[in-house]
Each structure stands twice: as C-alpha cells, then as structure tokens.
C-alpha cells in the first residue's frame, strides 16, 4: 500500500465533508472515519465516485446517493413551495427520464406566494434527466433536489 492513496482519500473526505470512507479492492481495504457529531449525514461510497455536494444532499435526500447516479448533477429548488411536474393537471410532465435538458428547458413549476415559478437547470447543469426526486404536488424547501441530470 502507499500512503499517497490514503492522503488522496482524506482530501476527498475534507472536500466533500465526508465522515467515513470505506474502500475495498482485491489488494486493498481501507476504512477512514472522522470525528463527528451525532447528527451529521454520512455518506458511504465506493472508490472512484464523484460526489454530489454534501450540503445539498444533506438538505434534501435522506438516502445516500449510490453509484448508479454517480457523476450526476442536481437541479435544486431555489425557494420553498409546492412542486408541479406538469403545466396543468391534464398535461404530460415537463420532463421524464432521459429527457435532454439545459438552462433553457423548464423542468417543473414551483408554486410560491401564488406564483408559479418556472424552474430551469442553471448554467452548469445540462444533459439528460437521470432521476426525478420529487412527486407532483410535493412541498419542497430551498435546496431540495428536484432532479438528477447526467
């Protein structure tokens, strides 16, 4: 084993605010654990995965992100309100799995203060919808992950 791998792992922990890392490969098994407060959200992941920023994940997704969505970027709610996945009750959803999206594509509405706000992925997020994380009519807060795009 080499200490360099470990150093890189700890950097990964720091950068992503992880408190525990376990990696197991045929020739190496590593477990790293940080001092932690009881409440902190803990993410377990396999090596080589890229993380969704901890804060947004912690704010909204109760279950740990697992590798099928590794590399995805989240579209988050910018305001507390109610999500609508379709423009009106009889219409089809704005997007479904595999719909290509970019900063010009409306992905859902969030009703707040009687106003229906059109939500579009912001600049950096483009690709196709990989996961729809909310239900139609669900209450969301700032930071709630609405979609994963990859």
């Amino acid at each position: 084993m080499d200490i360099k791998t470990l150093r890189e792992l700890t950097k990964l922990m720091r950068d992503n605010d992880l408190v525990e890392v376990e990696v197991e490969s045929p020739d190496l098994k590593v477990k790293l654990k940080k001092a932690t407060s009881p409440v902190a959200a803990v993410a377990h992941l396999a090596a080589s995965q890229v993380l969704v920023p901890a804060a947004s994940v912690a704010a909204a997704v109760p279950a740990p992100v697992v590798d099928e969505f590794a590399g995805c970027k989240p579209v988050i709610s910018p305001i507390p309100g109610t999500v609508y996945l379709k423009p009106n009750p009889d219409a089809a959803n704005f997007v479904s799995i595999s719909t290509p999206v970019d900063e010009n594509k409306v992905v859902c509405l969030i009703e707040a203060m009687k106003v229906f706000n059109e939500i579009k992925p912001d600049g950096g997020v483009k690709g196709t919808i990989k996961k729809i994380c909310v239900n139609d009519g669900q209450a969301v807060e700032y930071g709630t992950v609405l979609f994963l795009v990859g």
Partner: protein, 450 residues
C-alpha cells in the same frame, strides 16, 4: 390566538422565541439557511424550512423565500426577532399584506421612529428632551457651522440612518466639522444608501440608558423600567444591567414617562426600546433613538420585572389588551447580562467561528443562559459572533456580580475562543464595580490597559 408562528431569525433569539411559543401552546416554524441545518432552533421547532444558502441576503434577508415558507407552512404570524428584517417596514407591510400578522409595530410607526432625524423631530414635538442640535439633517457646511456655533463645540455629526458607529464623527472646530461632515455623509451613503447627517452637542461623559416599553393595539403603553448599557466597545453593547446604578428615582420616572409619551405620539404598539443618552455632568438625559423590535438585552428586563416579553409581544400582536398596567410593574433586585461572543478579545475581538467540542453551561440560583449552542455544534462564519447571553439576577448589584463571577468561571466552552475571559477581567475592574464607566471607557481606557 395564533396557532402557528414562523420565526424569521436564527441563533439564540430563535430558540428564545420557540420557548415562549411552547409556553403559549403555539406551534413553531423556523426558516433556516443551509449552514444552519444543525442549529438548535431547527431541532426545537415543530417545522423547519430551508430558505436559502448561507449568505443572509439569500436567506434571512430574502423576503420572497421567507414569505413563501410562511405560506407553505400556513402560519398566522411572523416573529422577526432582532437584526435581519426586524426593523424593515417594507417586510412588515408585505407580511401583513399576505394576511399574516407581523409581530411588531405598524410599518408607519416603524418608519416614523426608525429614522433618527424623523424620530428626533417627533420627540421634540412630544416634549421629550433631545440633544441640542440641528432641527433635522443639515443641508450644507454653512448650516452645520451655524448650528455648531449656537450649541458650542465639541459637536457630533451623525447619519440619520445608521447605527453601530458608522457615519459618526466628532468635530472640535469649523474645519474638522466641514471635513467630518463630508466623510460621515459619504460613509452613510455607502453603508445605508442615505447620506443625510445631523449635528448635535457632544456629551462628554455619557451613560447609555434605555427604557423598555410595550404597547397594545388599544392605545395602552407601559414602561418596564430601564437598562443601563454603558459598557460598550466601538458602540457595541457588552454588558447591560437594570436598574441603572447612576440615576435617581426621579430621573427614572421621567425617562419612563417620556418613553411612553413618545411611543403614544407615534401610535406605537408591541415591544420597543427608547434609547437615551444620560449626561453624567449635566445629570440630564436626551432621546437618542428608538428600536422598534425586541432587543438582545431584553432578558435583563425580564429578570427584574418577571414578565416574559416575547410572550407579551405575541399576545399584543394577536390583538389582546396588555395583561398588566403601569402600576403593576414593580422591578425587583438587580440583573446583569453579558454577551458571550466567539471572538478572540486579545486580537481586537476578531471572530472565531468553529466547532464547539465541549459545552457545559453554568446554572444555579439567579443564573440564566440564553444560547443556541451545544457540544458538537459548529458556529458558521456567516453571521454575528454572539453565542450566548449570560444573565444573572441578585437582590443587589453586588450579589448579581458575585453570581456573574461564579457563573463565568463555571462556563466551559472548548474548541473556540470566547469573550468569557474578557468579561472575567471586566467585572473585576474596580471602576466597573464602582460604576465609573462611561460609554467610551472600554475603548479609551480599559482596552489600552490590557
């Protein structure tokens, strides 16, 4: 009565408001920024809604998102706490326009009293003494010089908007008046978007004494005695106490009566504080400004009067008549509050946010701690550095000081630097003990000796 209240604030005041709501059987909704996810208020509240990222502008000052949260949670009222949007009359108006009660005064009286220049005029009309000076903002250097010659140097230049010492200058002659005025106007323009300044007599040996009032929507206003907040550093209060150890019963009575007079003149209701400057040489007081919200140091008044101010704020906001009359208010004993900040007092009180690894707060007869901290909590760097208010209440000032010394020595906060050691030195200083402190004493004398 309200069923559910949203608290548009954070930190200790959010937990403080939750406590009073529980006492009243009212559900609580707190809004929070992403960095406050682990805060005690979020844990204590019945509902917590994230309204934005760390920077206050995008969360605790984000009116849209707060209103959206209030509607989502279907609350009856919003308590703004202190700081943030608490003195923003536009926010108060938006809240009320949404048919949600704002727990505070009307936007109109906030506007009338929140602006220093306007408030001074109102005080003068009501017959409340004000510092001799310009009748309103000075419009030119010439006008400023005229005023200064009438009241005599030294004079103080003050921005009408503002606070925290910004937009303030002292002038000893015409030349420093002219240059100081320009500087103060520029500073105020930059900081508050309003450069208007007034000129007034400088009080050399001042105590800061304020009167807590509370009014209902039926025209009743009651004064709850004074708080002496003369121990300040750079215009930031460090210690507050009641009663003031330097004024007579007669002056106290007059200040209270004037505070009520002014509040009534402005059609004010809910809790408010009328700040006075007390001139130790002339033994006279002058109206300074009014804070149209609950204040950090309100527990001092709670300890001596026995009234839960947050509770009564909520009751009068719900339209109830005040539960007590002026003659019911009988302050007892002596209360002192010290503000404990996450700061390194030996390094110019620079903030020291970080993780609290160990936390044990003091307890005992006459000891109260208002805090949102706990072991394992990480103080975010985004907001102010106050982490606790330690309040003691004794039969006499000497007893209160003994309780305070003991409580400070028992307070264990590890992982970050705090101002506890500063307070320990301060309250052992014979000049503090003997009430020889003025509002400039910490800056000009105490800090230079340490």
């Amino acid at each position: 009565m309200f069923k559910r209240i949203l608290i548009a604030n954070r930190g200790e005041i959010a937990t403080r408001i939750i406590r009073s709501c529980r006492r009243l059987g009212i559900e609580t909704v707190v809004v929070y920024s992403t960095v406050d996810k682990e805060s005690l208020a979020v844990r204590m509240a019945d509902v917590a809604i994230c309204i934005g990222p760390g920077p206050a502008k995008q969360s605790y000052l984000n009116i849209n998102n707060i209103i959206a949260a209030a509607e989502l949670a279907d609350v009856d009222a919003i308590h703004p706490g202190y700081g943030f949007l608490s003195e923003n009359s536009h926010f108060a108006q938006v809240v009320r326009d949404c048919k949600i009660e704002f727990i505070g005064p009307t936007s109109t009286s906030m506007d009338a009293l929140g602006n220093k220049g306007k408030a001074k005029l109102l005080a003068q009309e009501a017959g409340v003494p004000t510092v001799p000076g310009s009748a309103g903002p000075v419009l030119s250097s010439d006008e400023a010089i005229q005023v200064a010659h009438k009241i005599g140097y030294p004079v103080m230049i003050k921005a009408t908007s503002g606070g925290g010492g910004r937009g303030m200058r002292v002038a000893h002659n015409d030349a420093s008046l002219v240059s100081g005025l320009i500087q103060a106007q520029r500073e105020a323009e930059a900081a508050f978007g309003n450069g208007a300044c007034i000129v007034e007599a400088l009080v050399k040996r001042a105590r800061h004494i304020e009167i807590q009032i509370i009014g209902d929507q039926h025209g009743n206003v009651v004064a709850l005695g004074e708080r002496d907040c003369s121990t300040q550093r750079r215009h930031q209060k460090l210690v507050e106490e009641s009663p003031s150890p330097v004024i007579t019963q007669e002056i106290r009575r007059n200040m209270c009566a004037d505070a009520v007079k002014l509040s009534k003149a402005a059609g004010y209701y809910n809790a408010g504080t009328v700040e006075f400057i007390y001139d130790l040489d002339r033994k006279a007081y002058y109206f300074l400004e009014m804070n149209t919200r609950i204040q950090v140091e309100h527990p001092v008044t709670e300890m001596v009067t026995g009234y839960d101010l947050i509770k009564h704020q909520i009751l009068v906001a719900a339209g109830e008549p005040l539960a007590f009359r002026q003659e019911d208010v009988k302050p007892e004993g002596h209360a002192i509050e010290v503000r404990i900040n996450a700061e390194d007092w030996e390094k110019e009180f620079s903030p020291r946010p970080g993780r609290i690894s160990m936390y044990v707060s003091p307890s005992g007869k006459g000891v109260r701690v208002d805090s949102h901290c706990y072991a394992g909590y990480t103080i975010p760097p985004n907001y102010d550095s106050m982490i606790a208010k330690l309040i003691v209440h004794g039969d006499t000032r000497a007893e209160a000081l003994r309780f305070l010394e003991q409580a400070l020595s028992e307070y264990i906060i590890e992982g970050i630097k705090t101002t506890i050691p500063f307070h320990q030195r301060l309250i052992r200083d014979v000049r503090f003990v003997n009430n020889e402190v003025t509002t400039k004493w910490v800056d000009e004398i105490f800090m230079r000796e340490h």
